[in-house]
Symmetry: C4
Subunit: 338 residues, 4 copies
């Protein structure tokens, strides 16, 4: 496939491995099976760690958990080595294609580090005398391997990144209020409850639990000023819930409009010759998937563009036949500018 | 009515039953009475189940509850049989019109299953020796029969479905954090409170109650690291409240714009001949109801379209004086595309 | 003033009273003093009720509270009688202008009933032997008299009314889930805690407190299924916070756009002759206040319209001098339609 | 630099101090070092206050905290005096440039008062015999000095100010409900729990903690009516979380559109001559930073304007070939109007 037939069997195997591990393709069933197999194994690992922490289950089936752990680490180790070995044939990341530098760069990438963390504790436990319970709980971090398979998370992270300055400012205001509230609570309650409000860090625990509206009730104010302060912190906390909600609502709305505008532009281009060809249709479907737009929205955009084109359709005065619009002057999109 | 006079009395009765049970019409008072009667009966059933669970009331009036239950099951059984019998004459669902396949399809539909669940426990209790309290509580599921009568819920479900990928990604991130938080809490608190943080599932209960900002206070962290973790989970929980709020705000806004665009299009079509006829006006009112738009918004849309039409009014080339607008070139809305 | 000089002194006094009590005018200082005086008195009343409920304060200063109460009731009674007497001269509500029917209509209006509730308990206490503490607490209802003076609340109520169908659907879904959760919690916990989960209403109290993420902790689940249910209800509760936030965000956004469009239209009309006269400027400022728009938004709208006008300025081809736009065909806004 | 060479050394030093303390410039490394140094010192102060409140740490290292405090107060005092001295040379605030009135105005400004509060308690403690713990906690207020360095907070405050009327109305409704709920709770629970619901202020503490969904659990209703009330307050509280979230979402969205419109306008102006010069590019980047827009949004705006220009490119009447667009008629933005 794609010109790899002329290569040596070794390089062919490496390219095939890269295709299996790094690309998502509808036409490659084996690649899908590998993905599904890994997802199932990761999920089973998480279930195993959770169940093993229950004493009764651990006592009854400890050996099986041990065998399963060895099997899992073997598979994940093979996966890790195979990824590092074949990454230089990953067609989507030319930056990793250099035999040495590419592999090092990949090994320092976020996803590769997660893969390493998934297996490292097992090997380290031979050399270091670590707490067994901690080691077991660390296995739970394997759950992060799943993030490789979720494409919709990209949108979440994008909105968070774009709104990061505003969210950061909101957090800064919260921290300001938290420090002031903690020191006031310390002053108000320290004498009445020297054990619970023993220091500002202790008061801060209470203030965070109140400001996030969790309100466990293990620490509660008893003095009138402390109670007044608690009520005020609760009200501020209410605003601290509303603030990020408002910021994110604006962010998601903005991201949606931007993604819709990108689709609109492509539909405009596709319709430049008056009709959407099969190839263009496939391209548009790919873009809709990539932009994480839902079908209803995508259709609405496509319909709106067609509608608009139809109204402008003649492009020329239908009676005197002269062009009213001149499309060809559109500049190429300069995405790097500023 | 509508051409059913020439049918046999049996088929006339069936068609009339279908009209009573499946359609909503202002001009058919009996159909409205049937609907209102069923809504009242369902509501009374729920009140009865709730009251019967109070021991004092049950002891004082057990017999009346029993008679009411028999009466209710009789009515709901008749309703169920009548629906299955007459569904093949339901003009709104041609897919159910086949005498055998149509009825089976209907019986497997969501609404029919709810109707069945409402009566099945009563009949099953003759054969199976089930816990009486469980049986009684199951009657509460009759409340779902009410969902047949709420049209505004459609919008909620639509927004949820459209935003499902983003909400799903948000949930995935939450679950990731929940697992990590639970295992860290287990490590931090297991030794100090071996009874409350006995296993990761136990720690997970605490982590969910904290992350949703419920904070019962039956389980609270006592170690410094546990308290720090509790405060962090509270802060994350605050984001977990804000995230779906932001996603849904964007979704509702989007749905509103789309529904408004649909009304706009119809108003444009209705105004193509320059005036909204009585029939077109009735159609528009029907559409406004169907789209769940409020009157203020609907009027704003209609006014805007009229305004726009008025401004474009000449619609002719200012130079040769012939119409520039050619509405008939508008393609039919392709709702299946992509 | 406004043609009242020719009236009898009695009717002049009544018209003046109506002007003092029912209109807000910058040019009538006495009207402002009456408003401010009433607002201060209402606020003092609320402070008094709250303070009087504290035993120590009541014991120390009971008499003064009594004298203040008699003074307040006297003023509020005079206000009530004066309003009923003069309402028929209220120029803003022609529907109240009939001497008998108008007064009865006014007395049944929301604001008049609140005024009546503010004084009725005092008079009733002479005839009915009511609990003194209840009577005193009822005085707190006087706070509702303040709602007469808040104009920004109109927007809140408008958004709530417009989104009422969607909010209603969200509440219906919540109630459905609440009933199901309560009956499941009753089944799961009744045997383990027969005192706390004694009946479905009792379980419902716990379910509401959990679903609203309050989580007092006075009732907590102890069985594994109950704990799982509690965690699930918490997660659902999180969605129940997000849902109205999303609906209201969309509603406020929509209301803002609509109000801005209304201002835009008026600015367009004012600029029809090319310039905003002093009178038009005053009208626009009045509209901005009435629409509850902030100055920044209002200026942005006015600037945008001016900008647009400037670009279209010629309105005619600047070279061949023929009109490209025809404004006079704009229909009058039909606000009642549909 | 900028013409200060001809001044006396004293005035040169003052102008240099003003440049160091009041301006942010990439080209002045010393100014950046001063800023960073002050930020680090403020942060260390906060850490010190928090740590010192822990008894063990205070006992072990009390002296070091004392020396650090003296050092900090010295630096902050020098900073304060230097700011008051040099403020009259601050080029960004001409209103402070008068030697006496300008300095007094500055000393009464928000930032200067915060600077004063940061050092005042230290000097006052020599004259007044204050509680040492209170004095120490007051040092935490130094954290407000950090607000000078956060530019993104401006957007938060702007949105809050613009939506203040609507938020105020929401708060007013909350307070109304709170008073009613408190007095009802007082009536319902006073007899059953005379110690916890001793007065309306006491009931109000419980009502706020419930309405903000904090729910400590130190005070819980025990009577059926009290429990019903608690559940209702919880539901209202849910709305009280949703309301500000919705208001702020609309506010942030609105602010974003306005800022984007401002950028659009500048890009239009920059493109009037067909090309963006280097100087214009630098101006635009400066504006993007100032408006707190993210790069993706900024690029989208610039691209959209270019696209639009390109489509209108001919800008000439297609028949007589002369320009239709007359940019110079655009009026200057009147930001003070209304």
């Amino acid at each position: 496939m794609d010109g790899t037939e002329s290569l040596s069997p070794y390089r062919r195997a490496r390219a095939r491995t890269a295709a299996l591990l790094f690309t998502v393709s509808k036409d490659d069933p084996l690649s899908r099976y590998v993905d599904i197999g890994l997802i199932v194994l990761i999920t089973l690992n998480i279930v195993a760690v959770v169940l093993e922490s229950v004493d009764d289950i651990h006592r009854a089936a400890g050996d099986y958990f041990h065998y399963f752990e060895i099997f899992s680490v073997t598979v994940f180790s093979i996966e890790y080595v195979a990824r590092v070995w074949s990454v230089i044939d990953n067609p989507w990341k030319p930056v990793h294609n250099h035999p040495i530098k590419g592999r090092i760069k990949y090994m320092l990438s976020w996803m590769a580090l997660i893969d390493l963390i998934a297996i490292a504790p097992f090997y380290l436990s031979f050399f270091i005398d670590a707490d067994l319970r901690v080691l077991r709980a660390l296995r739970l971090l394997r759950i992060f391997k799943l993030s490789r398979y979720s494409s919709a998370m990209t949108l979440l992270f994008q909105v968070f990144r774009e709104e990061s300055r505003t969210i950061g400012a909101a957090m800064f205001v919260s921290v300001l209020m938290l420090f002031v509230a903690s020191s006031l609570a310390f002053i108000a309650e320290h004498e009445a409850q020297p054990d619970k409000f023993s220091s500002i860090p202790a008061a801060m625990y209470w203030a965070v639990i109140t400001m996030t509206t969790v309100g466990f009730g293990d620490v509660v104010p008893v003095t009138p000023w402390g109670k007044f302060l608690g009520a005020m912190i609760g009200v501020i906390g209410l605003g601290m819930v509303a603030l990020p909600a408002g910021i994110l609502a604006s962010g998601f709305d903005n991201a949606l409009h931007r993604r819709r505008a990108m689709l609109e532009e492509k539909v405009h281009a596709a319709l430049a010759d008056g009709e959407i060809s099969d190839e263009e249709q496939a391209d548009l479907e790919e873009l809709v998937r990539h932009l994480n737009l839902n079908t209803v929205d995508a259709n609405a955009v496509i319909y709106a563009v067609k509608h608009q084109k139809a109204q402008q359709a003649p492009g020329v005065c239908p009676h005197c036949g002269k062009s009213l619009h001149t499309q060809e002057k559109l500049p190429a999109r300069p995405s790097e500018e500023i």
